[in-house]
Amino acid sequence: AFLLTFLSAIIMLIFICFCVHFQNTAGQFFSSGHTNNWAVLVCTSRFWFNYRHVANTLSVYRSVKRLGIPDSHIVLMLADDMACNHRNPKPATVFSHRNMELNVYGDDVEVDYRGYEVTVENFLRVLTGRLPPSTPRSKRLLSDDRSNILIYLTGHGGNGFLKFQDSEEISNVELADAFEQMWQKRRYNELLFIIDTCQGASMYERFYSPNIMALASSQVGEDSLSHQPDLAIGVHLMDRYTFYLLEFLEDIHPASKSNMNDLFKVCPKSQCVSTPGHRTDLFLRDPGSVLITDFFGSVRKVEITMEAIHLTDPILQLEDGPMSEEVQEKTYSYVDQLPVSEIIHQKPKQKDWHPPDGFILGLWTLILLVFFKTYGIKHLKHIF
């Protein structure tokens, strides 16, 4: 009997431990506070020799898509076209590994801003949401205050600035102000900012809005280096930091539990030659408790409810309008594509009448003034 009670006590204990464990995982499941994920991936360099920047951006795009963020939630900006560039020996491909192992361009890519559209103004407008009303949805960042946003920038940079398309720059102050605008307008819950340029750490020095975590590939005064050239394509394929970042992300799957501390360890100085840096002082949660999939993946949250939900009546399929049964008397026809006689005898288009513009009005006023000055105002009654 004593043995039985002892055994039952042990079973009860194990059961209670299990329950607590479930509650812990359930608690962790709802602890991060975000409901949707967005990604803004920007490559800022033009010209064929900057192939590696496009490959960097596309490899992050590929990882982010693989981990669950859909195309409608990704704003991809590529400043130049490398895949269908005439210098590319294998068109419609962008490789990240030597010997053409991995085509990061893929078959299902949707580039939202491309070519000349990638400018500092468009980038800041996308972040702050101040776009012209006719901008299509795929080009907008429609985030809310429960969105976790991943922002990835790559290109050529310097101390405090990032070069866009060889013709303009964005400074770290502008970027910090843009993030503050986003915070004021409640456009993000948490933001992860990754930058892979030379002296990248200078870009996150000026941030002052809460809930931002930043990673950079090199410190101020250091250059980020590229990884490896491919002799068949003729250019360097990837930058070191993003190459090792891609390798790290290939091991992540949507249910993995890796956290930010593992991300900070990517590409130590021995592999990267530059020293990657990170900044977490603005972030409220402890980086060790932040999952990689909080930013790179799109984990769907499920809410369990016990209430009954009333559905509406089943929708009846509408007929395509009443088909008129009587025979139409009117016969339609195609138009002559090149009606020569009609064209030759075409009346010239009636130009719309515009009121005379300022120059003509001013000229006539001057003439009238000179006339009346010379000959006196008493001649006015003869005119009218």
């Binding site: 361009y105 395509d320 009117k330 339609y332």
Partner: protein, 550 residues
């Protein structure tokens, strides 16, 4: 009967035409056509879409579009080597739209439409604005059913610089009812399609007649994809091609939503199977008159059997010489002036025919229209109709439309001189030394045909021969695009502002700094620091209370 009628009203057909060209290339043309009898313009919006893609249906109803034609092309169609294409398209992106008569502000609708299309097709169509849009007065007549044509509702724009890549093909494939999962669209893989000499994807929406009587109309959506593969450079040593070699995919099944799914192989040059043989062989042959020529095709119906390959292909016979083709180039030297030459060739031995030339030149090339000359065979050839709309700086491009009669077997040359403008420094692109593009000229013509064309508008015609409506039997309509031009504009040195600022600031600093120093600096005599031994001696003396050394 109502059910049967609504089924007939929504129809999808797909077709692939493969034609070996005489230069050794293979021309493959995919056509996907969706017909739908519905009214987009009525008040209660259409909400149940089956085969017709919803995104395009919403575009049609929201912007009151009557006809929409958009094409994305990479490469230039070489008419002399390849003959005439089934559907012509200029390099880059081209968009022309006829709006309904009920639209009050056509320009605003056009601007919004280009933005929406840029989102649908992932292209930079939002760069289409008033500086590259024109309103042709005689070209681009509607290809569909219409009551009357008022050219105020027509807009035309090209973006010759637009790149076509996988990101444009992906949304285009998603518009098809079966997507890229079944049917002929399975073959569309970007790695092979873009490794070609010519690639073009288009979308055409227009209202068409449903049957021969033409009492009712339905909306037709045609998606076409034309590609020319150069089998020599893609490593095909043996003259043997198959669908797998061309597209790196094989056909699995016909699209279940398609009412017909056919492949046509052009065997006109191979009547007795002496030059190439098809595998699997088919006895089904059909003849069609297309582009003024009667061609024989082997037909494979995908719902019954699958097509695989052709072996031992040799170019043979003589190609029907294209009767009309055109070239365009810039002459002159230097960065100030130049001359645009458009050359049109009429290769018909005894017939002359009129052509309509449409030229749209950006405002930064200032055309001198008084230097416009049209010469044929060395003599002046006055056009019977000229419409010229001058450009407005930064607002409107030049528009020149001319109806020219081309004499038989002749070369007609149109020349006009221009001057290059200096742009404001913010208007230059990030790579201005690449040059600036001038869109292709469009030449529309009714070319006399040696074979009687079919004027019946029936559904049984294959899709590739029934695109342009045919009104008379003795001629067919053709549209030829010239090359786009690339001109260099005088480009400033963009680092000069930085250089000027550095130099000026240095000069000012050195000059003003020296002057300031001279005026305000005063000199004072200072005791030198005593040496260490003297310091220690003074320290001991201070302790002793004895006077210090000097």
């Amino acid at each position: 009967t109502l059910v049967a009628r609504s089924l007939l009203a929504n129809d999808f057909q797909e077709e692939l035409v493969i034609r070996p060209l005489h230069s050794g290339d293979i021309y493959a043309s995919f056509q996907f056509r969706t017909l739908w009898e519905t009214d987009f313009m009525r008040e209660n919006k259409v909400s149940h879409y089956r085969l017709f893609p919803k995104s395009l249906g919403q575009v049609i109803s929201k912007f009151s579009v009557r006809e929409l034609h958009i094409s994305f092309t990479q490469g230039y169609w070489r008419t002399m080597q390849w003959g005439q294409p089934f559907l012509p398209s200029p390099p880059g992106a081209e968009l022309w739209v006829w709006f309904q008569d009920s639209v009050t502000d056509v320009d605003a609708a056009w601007k919004e439409l280009t933005n929406v299309l840029s989102g649908i097709f992932c292209a930079s169509l939002n760069f289409i604005d008033s500086t590259n849009t024109v309103q042709p007065s005689a070209s681009f007549k509607p290809l569909g059913i219409v009551n009357e044509t008022d050219h105020r509702f027509l807009r035309y724009a090209t973006l010759p610089r637009e790149i076509v890549c996988t990101e444009n093909l992906t949304p285009w494939k998603k518009l098809l009812p079966c997507g890229s999962k079944a049917g002929l669209a399975v073959l569309l893989k970007s790695e092979k399609l873009f490794h070609s000499s010519f690639f073009s994807q288009t979308v055409h929406i227009r209202p068409v007649c449903q049957d021969r009587e033409c009492k009712t109309t339905s909306w037709e959506l045609r998606q076409t994809l034309n590609v020319v593969f150069d089998l020599h450079t893609s490593g095909q040593g043996k003259r043997e091609w198959s669908l797998f070699k061309m597209f790196s995919r094989t056909l699995t099944e016909a699209c279940p939503l398609a009412s017909s799914s056919k492949i046509y192989i052009d065997v006109t040059d191979n009547p007795q199977e002496e030059y190439f043989e098809l595998s699997p062989a088919t006895p089904l042959l059909s003849q069609a008159v297309v582009l003024g020529d009667r061609r024989t095709f082997s037909v494979y119906d995908l719902t019954q059997q699958l097509f695989k390959s052709v072996s031992d292909l040799l170019p043979a016979g003589s190609m029907l010489r294209p009767l009309l083709h055109a070239e365009r180039y810039v002459a002159g030297y230097g960065l100030q002036t130049g001359e645009i030459h458009t050359v049109m060739y009429n290769n018909h031995p005894f017939r002359s025919f009129p052509v309509l030339l449409l030229d749209s030149v950006p405002w930064y090339l200032r055309l001198y229209i008084h230097t416009l000359t049209v010469t044929s065979k060395g003599k002046d050839n006055t056009p019977s109709y000229i419409h010229y709309q001058p450009s407005k700086d930064r607002m409107r491009p030049h528009l020149l439309e001319m109806l020219v009669q081309l004499p038989p077997h002749s070369v007609t040359e149109v020349t006009v001189q221009f001057e290059r403008a200096l742009l404001k420094w913010t208007e230059y692109t990030p790579d201005p030394n690449h040059g600036f593009y001038v869109g292709s000229s469009v030449i529309s013509a009714l070319v006399p045909s040696s074979v009687a064309m079919d004027t019946n508008i029936t559904q049984e015609q294959p899709l590739f021969s029934s695109f342009f409506p045919c009104k008379e039997e003795s001629s067919y309509f053709v549209r030829v695009y010239t090359e786009p031009l690339l001109v260099n504009l005088p480009t400033p040195d963009f680092s000069m502002p930085y250089n000027v600022i550095c130099l000026t600031c240095t000069v000012v600093a050195v000059g003003y700094g020296s002057l300031y120093n001279l005026l305000t600096r005063s000199f004072q005599i200072e005791e030198p620091n005593p040496r260490l031994a003297k310091k220690i001696a003074n320290f001991i003396r201070r302790i002793r209370g004895v006077p210090l050394l000097s």
